[in-house]
């Protein structure tokens, strides 16, 4: 992690970060990443044990999808809730939310 990466990440995450903040984030995020590097130890442990990558992949996909998901049911959104939702927008007109232009 360095200051350029922090700037790039902030841009991707749609966050405006001041120069004074970048130094703090650099320090804090680097400390967190340093700890997360410990995961390599877990991967070493897994590689040395009998667990195979194929087993891992199977649990990650098929089992999760089969076990956890019910079918979606699509319903119309109640008019009252639509009206309440529109109130939250800064500007709206005849059921549409008005947003700033892409370019000024």
């Amino acid at each position: 992690m360095d200051k350029e990466i922090i700037k790039k990440l902030a841009q991707l995450a749609k966050l405006k970060v001041d120069d004074s903040e970048i130094e703090i984030y650099d320090y804090q995020l680097s400390a967190v990443l340093h700890h997360l590097d410990s995961l390599a130890g877990a991967i070493d442990f897994i590689n040395k044990s009998d667990i195979k990558d194929d087993d891992v992949e199977e649990v990650n996909t098929n089992e999760v999808i089969d076990a956890f998901l019910a079918n979606d049911e699509v319903e119309n959104w109640p008019e009252e809730e639509i009206a309440m939702s529109l109130i939250g927008a800064r500007r709206n007109d005849e059921g549409f939310i008005i947003v700033p232009a892409i370019k000024s």
Binding site: M1, I5, I6, L9, A10, L12, A13, K14, L15, K16, V17, Y25, Q28, L29, A31, V32, L33, H35, L36, S38, L39, A40, G41, A42, I43, F45, I46, I51, D55, V56, V59, N60, F68, L69, A70, N71, D72, E73, E80, E81, I82, M84, S85, I87, G88, A89, R90, I97, V99, P100, A101, I102, K103, S104
Partner: protein
């Protein structure tokens, strides 16, 4: 009549036998909130009118011969759960004035069952934290020592219950956010099996791990509330798990048939000695009762918090992308669309949210960052496999809930890593989608609560809660006075 620290079961008895009305009960808690919440700061909004209306409706139903369940029972809900017509802030300036257009499924089920919503509880912003200090509206204080944190992120819910502001509370638990504050505030906190309770109407944070959980004064109370709120929901495709019917509350536990695992990795050198001693005492009590307690191994436990952090941050960066201030939320504005996004999100989000958004974006980026995510998913899967293997040997796992008791406000606020490590004993069960309960087991010499954790098999929530109640009955810990009362 002394209403102090009523359990739901005790309140139920008083209401059903017409010795108390729901309005009187509601009035008792609203008065306490009014008088004392300036010390604890558990709640962001108190709904006086709504609470009295709900209480009067409950009293009509009670007068018509209805009873049982949560009818007429006052509760508080974490402010990341939508309540129609009331503000739901998620502890964030981004949603400071957001009024929910619909009720979360858990709220509509409680409403239908006649429960009385009193207030919306404080939390770490978007449930990101372990101390409730990350709230945009100021920290909540631990009721047993106001200079200490209540834990988090459901700190407002746990503190409100411990401060006797309600009979039960709802929170949300992604990596421990119900169990952590329950442990630090001395109440029971249940993270259900993933998929047992609908998340429809819960402000999404980390969708592969988020769960709504119950905080109460006993496991019997948790069971009563679970019977109302658990079950499939057409609005949440992941809420497809049907729990086995609850066993009768008064059914005796045959301890000789219970095998409890004692995972050695949870008792590492970082564990506070007072907590370790209390856990050992519980183990000895269970052995005296005839239970089998055997050491087991879960070797990847020390890596749980790292795997959790990566998955959590990646999902946070996706889920929180929706908060741009256009359809709802904080508005700072700008000369064009991009500048508007940037200004709205800069003003609307706090420091911890920004940290996780940036790291999450990193983990989801091609290159070096993505390797962290792949490693984390692998470790998550193997941790689940380790639990499956251990549960072929034992029925439950008994562990500490937190490495230490409550710590001082401000002590860790500028050190995000130390706060992530607060959940180190709680994240493994979350990653494996298992039910787990924080159980109060004693007090430190300084008068702070000590909690333990019981982890069960996926879908076995009700049997686990029965065992938790039996453990509570054995321990029977004394209550402590609240210093500000």
């Amino acid at each position: 009549m002394n209403l102090q620290s009523l359990t739901l079961a005790q309140a139920r008895d008083l209401l059903d036998n017409r010795r108390l009305t729901s309005r009187q009960l509601t009035d008792y808690y609203l008065q306490r909130l009014e008088k004392y919440d300036s010390y604890v700061r558990s709640s962001l909004l108190i709904d006086y009118d709504g609470a009295y209306q709900a209480a009067d409706l409950a009293d009509q139903r009670l007068a018509n011969g209805e009873g049982g369940g949560v009818l007429g029972i006052p509760y508080i809900v974490k402010d990341n759960i939508l309540t129609k017509g009331l503000k739901t802030t998620a502890g964030s300036k981004m949603l400071e004035n957001y009024i929910a257009p619909y009720d979360a499924t858990v709220i509509s089920r409680l409403k239908q069952a006649g429960a009385v919503l009193l207030a919306k509880a404080n939390l770490d912003e978007f449930a990101l934290g372990s101390s409730t200090e990350n709230s945009a509206f100021g920290p909540t204080h631990n009721p047993y020592n106001l200079s200490m944190v209540p834990g988090g992120s459901s700190g407002g819910s746990a503190a409100a219950l411990a401060a006797d502001f309600c009979i039960f509370a709802l929170g949300s638990d992604t990596g421990g956010s119900v169990r952590h504050p329950a442990s630090l505030c001395g109440v029971v906190g249940h993270r259900p099996s993933y998929g047992a309770i609908s998340r429809h109407g819960l402000v999404a944070m980390s969708s592969s791990l988020d769960a709504i959980g119950v905080l109460a004064r006993s496991a019997v109370d948790v069971t009563t509330i679970m019977e109302v709120i658990a079950g499939p929901d057409k609005y949440d495709a992941t809420a497809s798990l049907v729990l086995e019917a609850p066993a009768r509350v008064n059914q005796m536990i045959n301890w000789s048939q219970i095998k409890i695992g004692w995972p050695v990795e949870y008792f590492s050198s970082g564990l506070d000695s007072e907590i370790a001693d209390n856990l050992t005492n519980i183990k000895n009590l269970l052995l005296d009762k005839g239970a089998t307690v055997i050491p087991v191994n879960l070797p990847l436990t020390p890596y749980g918090v790292a795997a959790y952090a990566i998955i959590n941050m990646a999902e946070v960066s996706s889920n929180l992308a929706r908060f741009d201030g256009l359809r709802y939320g904080h508005w700072a504005g700008g000369s064009n669309l991009l500048e508007t996004y940037l200004n709205n999100r800069k003003d609307g989000f706090g420091a911890e949210v920004k940290r996780r958004l940036m790291l999450g974006t990193y983990f989801l980026s091609a290159g070096e960052g993505e390797s962290y995510y792949k490693q984390a998913q692998t470790v998550k899967t193997i941790i689940s496999q380790e639990f499956k293997e251990v549960f072929t040997q034992v029925d439950y796992l008994l562990t500490p809930a937190t490495p230490t008791a409550a710590f001082p406000l401000g002590a860790k606020v500028n050190n995000p890593l130390s706060l992530y490590l607060e959940d180190s004993l709680l994240t493994p069960a979350s990653l494996a989608h298992l039910p787990a309960v924080a159980i109060p087991i004693g007090w430190t010499l300084a008068g702070l609560p000590i909690g333990s954790q019981l982890i069960g098999k996926r879908g076995d929530d009700y049997n686990m809660l029965r065992v938790v109640q039996a453990i509570e009955d054995i321990i029977n810990i004394p209550s402590q006075l609240l210093p500000w009362e």
